[in-house]
């Protein structure tokens, strides 16, 4: 296959490609279930203000009489707290919806920024080649050999706490995966004759970059992006749990779990277990979707 992928495009429209993709994706019932979970989670997070019975961060709406209600009890608000309440009288179900919102925002934001940064770095390395490539990829490899949690710790230690600092730490810990993926796919394409030919014509560099190199890197990038969003959410939750992530005024699922941890030993399991279940479902579902996307986009690598 030495022809340009751009030439192959007009033959199949975006729609037929999507429907082909979908009919392959559907083959795994587990993946379809996981996708359903992801869609529901995203919808709940987006619609949190309309779905949640309570705004958990409006201090005035909270009533200390409602503190630590067990799941299913009715509070002073007159509605059932299906998942119980925490020490401040927050409805856990509402807190989870709002927490999901924060977690998803952080995860998607970090994932997107890491995607942009990593893809750019990877493309630059593949496009220029030579010493630029060697230097960049050496740094990327070194970074990948260090665990993400360690890098995130360093950055949080350096930058302090807060939403933006957290996103920066996550991006720094994860962009390298995108860079290596992009570089791998793009540099394989870069070596092909037609790119050499295109480079010898007065076509602008961006034409080669965006019409030839980037499209080849897209399928693996989609897979990495899916998995990295899940990883961002998990890493954010971990940092928040460690007390290094978001402050309790902007709680994510991680800080909710951390908040309930102290009550776990006294048997008030619901304060941290339910947010934890929400976190687990979200992360596992995204991972399963990512797995199936990988299988569909690259059938050779499955099994």
């Amino acid at each position: 296959m030495s022809h340009s992928p751009v030439l192959a495009l007009p033959a199949e429209t975006g729609w037929t490609r999507f429907s082909n993709f979908w009919s392959d994706f559907r083959q795994s019932p587990v993946a379809v279930a996981a996708l359903t979970v992801v869609v529901v989670v995203v919808l709940m997070a987006v619609l949190a203000p309309y779905v949640a019975p309570q705004d958990p961060y409006n201090q005035e709406a909270l009533d200390l009489f409602d503190a630590r209600l067990e799941p299913g009890e009715v509070g002073s608000g007159g509605y059932v707290h299906w998942l119980g309440t925490d020490a401040a009288g927050r409805d856990i179900f509402s807190a989870i919806l709002y927490g999901l919102r924060t977690s998803l925002i952080v995860g998607v934001m970090a994932g997107t920024l890491a995607l942009i940064l990593g893809t750019t770095v990877g493309l630059i390395a593949a496009y220029y080649g030579g010493r630029v490539e060697a230097l960049i990829m050496r740094i990327i490899d070194l970074q990948l050999s260090l665990p993400a949690i360690l890098l995130a710790l360093v950055l949080v230690a350096m930058l302090g706490q807060g939403l933006m600092q957290l996103v920066a730490a996550l991006v720094a810990a994860q962009y390298a995966y995108f860079a290596r993926t992009t570089h791998g796919a793009a540099s394989a394409e870069r070596r092909k004759d037609y790119i050499e030919a295109a480079l010898s014509t007065p076509l602008p560099a961006r034409h080669v970059l965006f019409r030839h190199l980037l499209p080849n890197a897209l399928p693996p990038l989609i897979v990495v992006a899916t998995v990295q969003v899940a990883n961002s959410i998990a890493l954010e939750a971990t940092l928040s749990f460690l007390g290094l992530g978001l402050p309790l005024t902007q709680p994510s699922l991680g800080s909710l779990i951390s908040n309930g941890f102290q009550f776990l030993l006294s048997g008030r399991y619901w304060i941290s277990i339910y947010p934890g279940i929400a976190l687990m479902l979200t992360v596992v579902a995204i991972n399963l979707v990512g797995d199936q996307v990988r299988n569909v986009l690259n059938p050779r690598r499955s099994r």
């Binding site: 050999s145 710790l153 949080v156």
Partner: protein
């Protein structure tokens, strides 16, 4: 071989130096550590004296060189909070972390390799699919959350294990260890299993992939055609072939296990290095932060180096390449 060794050692050294610069500048360039050390209400003279003492009035690169010079002499500074030499502080916590990390690796290996072998030997069986499902959970579910579940089920509900802490220790070769007593094991088992889960998932996947590949190879068919028993086929051919990637990952993951111990130690209140660094970050105890990060990176790089060397010993094909 010597040239290869020197090259790898130099590379490792570069990484450590680069990381030390980044960490030092990053941690020291932001904020004013003096504010953490003393009461903001204390008088200016005391403040000046401290700034002088810790050298905060000098240019950053000078501070860095002083720091590195001291480090080479085994002096990593003094904790702002504990008022103890950082090196002693970290070293006193090291045995607990090492013990936890090594126990976790042991659990991951003892469970992961047999499970992975089985899943790869009978890839279509129901049990193999269950094992693979478990391994997916093992590395996609955040480990702190699994730790909470373990505490809830095995400590709170069933009461089989204590919910946290380290329990009694005995001194062995100057290190305090808890794996020397049965009671110590009851404390270490849950956190070690928690820490092991991620590696367990990874090892199962790797072992399975390697087993599937080897079982489908011509040389396994040839071995069967020679009348080798299935046990011998797995024990001789499969184990030897998968030992290469497994040793690599085992080595690399030992480093990341040390790093991830941060999470497990916090969940289980295990008094190791990880707990120390989290506490230090929260109270901005910079010397401890810097020393810990540089130490972990150093450990990490050393482990990678050793793994590279072992890898060369295990795979004859690599050995030839390195020699020529």
């Amino acid at each position: 071989m010597i040239g290869f060794l020197i090259q790898r050692v130099l590379q490792a050294l570069m990484v450590v130096i680069a990381m030390s610069i980044i960490v030092f500048l990053g941690v020291y360039a932001i904020g004013n550590p003096i504010d953490v050390m003393i009461d903001p209400a204390s008088d200016q003279a005391l403040r000046e004296a401290l700034i002088q003492r810790y050298g905060f009035d000098r240019p950053l690169f000078e501070q860095y060189f002083i720091f590195m010079n001291n480090m080479l002499h085994g002096d990593l500074g003094e904790s702002f909070i504990y008022r103890l030499p950082v090196l002693n502080l970290i070293l006193s916590r090291l045995p607990a972390t090492l013990e936890l990390a090594l126990t976790a690796m042991l659990i991951a290996t003892l469970l992961g390799i047999p499970l992975g072998l089985w899943a790869g030997y009978k890839p279509d069986s129901l049990s193999a699919k269950a094992i693979m499902g478990f391994s997916v959970l093992g590395f996609s579910v955040p480990s702190f959350w699994v730790g909470l579940l373990l505490i809830m089920v095995f400590a709170v509900e069933l009461g089989w294990f204590p919910s946290g802490g380290r329990g009694p220790t005995t001194e062995v070769l100057g290190m305090n260890l808890s794996i020397t007593s049965l009671e110590g094991w009851s404390y270490i088992l849950l956190p070690a299993f928690n820490l092991a889960l991620f590696k367990l998932g990874l090892l199962i996947r790797l072992t399975r992939a390697g087993t599937v590949e080897v079982m489908g190879s011509d040389y396994v068919r040839f071995a069967r055609a020679q009348g080798l028993s299935e046990g011998k086929v797995v024990g001789l051919h499969v184990l030897k072939n998968i030992s290469i990637p497994i040793v690599t990952v085992f080595g690399l993951e030992l480093g990341s296990t040390l790093a991830f111990a941060v999470v497990t130690e916090t969940v289980f209140n295990w008094p190791g290095m990880g707990k120390l660094i989290i506490d230090s970050i929260t109270v901005l105890d910079r010397p401890v932060m810097v020393a810990y990060l540089i130490l972990v990176v150093f450990l990490f790089v050393m482990i990678n180096l050793v793994v590279d060397l072992i890898y060369g010993q295990l795979d004859p094909r690599i050995r030839v390449k390195a020699a020529s």
